[in-house]
Symmetry: C2
Subunit: 308 residues, 2 copies
Amino acid sequence: MTEKQMHSGEDECDVIIRNPHISSMTEDVLYHLSLSSGSHDLQEMFGDIKFVCMGGTPKRMEGFSSFIQKELGIKLPTGTVLDDISKRSYRYSMYKIGPVLSISHGMGIPSLSIMLHEVIKLMYHARCKDVIFIRLGTCGGIGYPGGTLVITEGAVDGLLRPYLELHVLGEVVKRPAVLDKELAEELKTVGEEQLPNYNVVMGKTMCTYDFYEGQGRLDGAFCEYKEEDKMKYLEFLKTQGVTNIEMESLAFAAMCNYSGIKGAVVCVTLLNRLHGDQVTVPKSTLEEWQRRPQELIAAFIKKRLNLV
Amino acid sequence: MTEKQMHSGEDECDVIIRNPHISSMTEDVLYHLSLSSGSHDLQEMFGDIKFVCMGGTPKRMEGFSSFIQKELGIKLPTGTVLDDISKRSYRYSMYKIGPVLSISHGMGIPSLSIMLHEVIKLMYHARCKDVIFIRLGTCGGIGYPGGTLVITEGAVDGLLRPYLELHVLGEVVKRPAVLDKELAEELKTVGEEQLPNYNVVMGKTMCTYDFYEGQGRLDGAFCEYKEEDKMKYLEFLKTQGVTNIEMESLAFAAMCNYSGIKGAVVCVTLLNRLHGDQVTVPKSTLEEWQRRPQELIAAFIKKRLNLV
């Protein structure tokens, strides 16, 4: 019997846990989420989740939780407010708004991957079905100005390899960083139809482990290449179909793909990297731009829930 | 003229910025710290910093700032409190307590490295001299019970390679993950002499990009090896001198070494990985253990400042 088959019947969970040890554990402590299968009824708490939305900062994901609550018209009981479910972890923030989970993942692949391991297990313990994971991020655009919405069609690493490389028990393991093509297309259509004032593009996302040298910036503590080397490299990325650079999509795609969960990455560009390295637009503009992926995701969720 | 020589005279800064572009920038925005050389007098604000202490969560580093304030006997002006200098970034938290900076770095190498790039530049703009960087962390012990203080003598990656691998403009770059030997020895002596109730050891630290499969855990969303494979691997690590596993020391060591800054890593074990994967001790015990690196660092700073 596979893990997938363990929960049978109508509420069969379709999240694939590729770990035979989980089912024999008397308690599974989701340490970094401050939840546990022993102390919480995870199915009762999270069984209705259909959309797991994630982004870098706790602040942004708190903002998204309020925004999506309003957009979905979800009323809380009198005298209650949304509360950070994982606040005792001091690591990630997590809010539940009806069928939507809004979680922060910090910066970079390792921080994202700790959270994803535990959220995938959370979906499994909660017996969730047909769940979609979406990362709402910020990025640098390659040839696109600030404020552009980029939907990732596939992720590559800093050497343009389309897989996540892991070191497991001293061996190199490779996991394809594949995203759901249909979901990406659907998001692009929603963007084009419902947010006509925004530029929505789709392309390859380069995911790096370093923000400065890893993304060819000239303004880190270390930089041993010239501006012309950087420009030549960024122009090369453009010829390879790379539309944007960020720091999480590779692991996000690989882990969603490996657990059978449909995943999508929607980022807004904060600058066009062909024109510079530093983010210099006013804070109010940055905040407006960062709301754009939220607006797209809200429109998508409302469509899926037949609320429009 | 090298970058190092740019600031001459008695207050010569000895932080090495290996980036010729920085000196020609009219403004350097330290975006993720919410500081800028244009809008802040960084030398006036941070010129007296001698110890930069960092750890994962904002909460822990806020706690350390209060603790070190008390330990150093630093009085704040009436009606003032310590405030998070980087709070507008919503990414890292930073507190200044006399000559000590206390900063959170999040989880994993990418998150740490963004902060280190910017803090190294901050030390350079502030013309700091003889600065020591210390990471206060938590880790899994290899053969050591929870509560053990481990001082890192050198960091290795998940393939036991003693360097940080970066992808820079499509090329693989390797930076030795070397830490200051004398500083590590001094910290060990301080621990043995002043904290005789704690077990203090020194050894090699393995630094991984993944908390679950990367550290041979059996309790992630994915695990395609057996318990005996895991145990064999952990026992092998022990024979190679690996005392503990965490997720930041490799980049910390490589970046300190590359910028000429003396760095040290002091972690407390939360469990002995030869006996399990999940952290199951009570929260109060965990909190007491997490204070141990802080106590060691406080004793070290007091010794260096001749306060004992």
